[in-house]
Symmetry: C2
Subunit: 378 residues, 2 copies
């Protein structure tokens, strides 16, 4: 996730949360350029019914904009709208139960591969809303432009491929580090500030987009360019409150052969060494994974992957920390209060702190060491 690589002058921290620009796309009941798809009367009726029932829908729910000229008509009686959501569920078979999935993506650069992968997801698109948060910077402006083009094209396409709704938030923020260099971005000293910024971005996105009808949240970073099409169904099938696949990266090895290697080291089982390190830390210090300077001897999911073709992709392991490149969460976990701590929480921050906070709320995290998603290779 390359969220904080842009150069900017510093701003007071207090304006961070307030400066938000929201762009909403809504194509839910618009015309289609592929006429064969307008012939599915069932889907059309279903979408129409869903929209009609939600005049006060949250940003990530669907609603049909009134046709121009409606405002000239005499005003009707005040409507009362009831949401009967007692049956809101998050189950192992979400499509069967028409469960709404909210995909949330902090975006710094736009990758075609990210969008193409998203567009190919097999979960019914009519039940998928997508929320983006993009920094108000030059790079962010470019990403927004590319994203808008991709969204416009997609949402004007076949009706059954269109997503329920898409929301784009633009957020002003204090840049954590000024270098665009990948090495510096990962330098340990920069990590705390960078990940605190990421955590605030995730929180702003989450608080603003989650709706009363959301059953699942899929956190998916903007540089994840390849997942199985059945990612949502696969993750949900384990019926866990929090579950993460293993984030790998494709690369060409020294012999010129295509290969894969681990990318995200933030999904782990805790160790006594790490616990002991934490006891010696001051309140504000955080434990970081993947740095030689701070050996934690945690059990890293990244290192437990089998790469053979016939590996058991359903192998599960319990986790104490999770990464956020791809992260599936039942909405009730967030609604109970689990967010991404931008401060040291039990000496953990951002997604790793989230797993700890969820644990304090009674929710366990799980990992799929043999189920891969792929990060862009810069």
């Amino acid at each position: 996730m390359s969220y904080f690589r842009q150069t900017r002058s510093s701003r007071p921290a207090l304006i961070l949360g307030g400066c938000v620009l929201v762009v909403l796309f809504y194509f839910f009941l618009g015309p289609t350029t592929d006429l064969s798809h307008t012939l599915d009367p069932l889907l059309r009726a279903r979408k129409s019914a869903a929209a009609a029932a939600n005049p006060l829908s949250p940003p990530t729910s669907a609603f049909r904009k009134s046709a121009a000229g409606d405002s000239q008509k005499p005003l009707g009686p005040p409507p009362i709208v009831h949401y009967q959501l007692n049956n809101l569920s998050s189950t192992a078979n979400p499509a069967k139960n028409n469960e709404k999935v909210l995909i949330l993506t902090p975006l710094a650069r736009f990758f075609e591969g990210y969008w193409d992968n998203l567009a190919a997801l097999s979960y019914p698109h009519e039940h998928i809303s997508i929320g983006f948060i993009i920094p108000k910077t030059k790079e962010g402006n470019e990403a927004t432009k590319s994203l808008q083009e991709a969204v416009s094209k997609h949402q004007a396409g076949p009706l059954d491929k269109r997503f329920e709704s898409i929301i784009i938030l633009r957020q002003d923020f204090e840049p954590a580090i000024l270098s665009q260099n990948e090495k510096e971005r990962h330098a340990m000293a920069n990590q705390a500030a960078r990940r605190a910024g990421m955590a605030k971005a995730r929180n702003s996105l989450l608080f603003t987009t989650i709706s009363p009808t959301t059953s699942w949240i899929l956190w998916l970073d903007g540089d994840i360019v390849e997942t199985p099409n059945s990612l949502i169904e696969d993750m949900a099938s384990f019926d866990k409150p929090i579950i993460v696949p293993n984030c790998f990266q494709r690369y060409t090895d020294d012999d010129g052969k295509e290969s894969i290697r681990p990318y995200d080291y933030n999904s782990w089982r805790d160790s006594d060494t790490a616990q002991e390190l934490a006891t010696k830390m001051s309140q504000d210090e955080i434990l970081l994974e993947g740095y030689a300077e701070m050996p934690t001897y945690r059990t890293l999911m990244a290192m437990l992957a089998e790469t053979t073709e016939n590996r058991d992709k359903k192998r599960l392991m319990p986790l104490d920390g999770v990464g956020g490149t791809a992260l599936m969460v039942k909405a009730e976990v967030h609604r109970d209060g689990a967010m991404f701590p931008p401060f040291a929480f039990y000496h953990l921050i951002e997604t790793e702190g989230f797993a700890k906070m969820a644990r304090r709320l009674g929710y366990e995290s799980w990992g799929l060491p043999n189920y891969f998603v792929y990060h862009y290779n810069e």
Copy 2:
């Protein structure tokens, strides 16, 4: 706040967040029974413009429901909606800047006094949205019914008195304690569980209702029956990220004279004694205020009030813990991630834990010892 007094059989904790019933009232552009008010073309035009711009508005924003029959019309081109919110502010003069205020109320019983006080608030109602969360219990059903009646009546009244929107969430939850008795409700042993439940209710309400346009959140408990009409303007005028008035209670003293006494003891400055107590506690234990068994020697705002008529109502004091009976918060504090910890956070829970969490995010809490709001006297 009497949120957890109902008797219920126990339920698995995991279903807490998921079982939500939402009822939405929307009267924004409906007809008025007071015809003199329909003659304010400016207000009407302003409301109409606001509504037209928000087809994908969150539950607490306004949108006019399409007139029946619209669905028969040919579908127009897919609309694209842009929110330009870079100027979103939370300032000392919110009305001048058209800042949106979201009032959030966890409600267990409906008090006429609460609603009448709310309806009399002088802040422009067109900029006020209100969110309620009510437990799915017999008592909660009664409260919902009474609330719906009050809302229906109010929102059919004069146009300039109507609130922008009102959302009611019904939440199933695990009852923390089974006794309806006030004494038991406050018994120290019950407090941790009761306040964890309250915290989860507040989080569900907050996550589901906060919108991209919200500038301020006013937490106002359902048993607050009297505040100055200018409560919102007064609190905002101090331009603090978090600010609380002093919560008192009217009563008749032994001589039969009308008097007032402190009610909420959760707003305080920390003490060395409390800090020392905390160091000896296990991870899950919490510090509680107002119990003889646990003398904290904190400086309680409740005890610092002057009650003379010519007292300085603008007297400010810094706080380390805040109560939630009335609590004004800039939206950016919540968006950055500050919520109500339902677990021990630095040995603090719920609103007191919120103040600590906000502090970790860089936001300070302030109190107004001489500015009173009044709790219902049971």
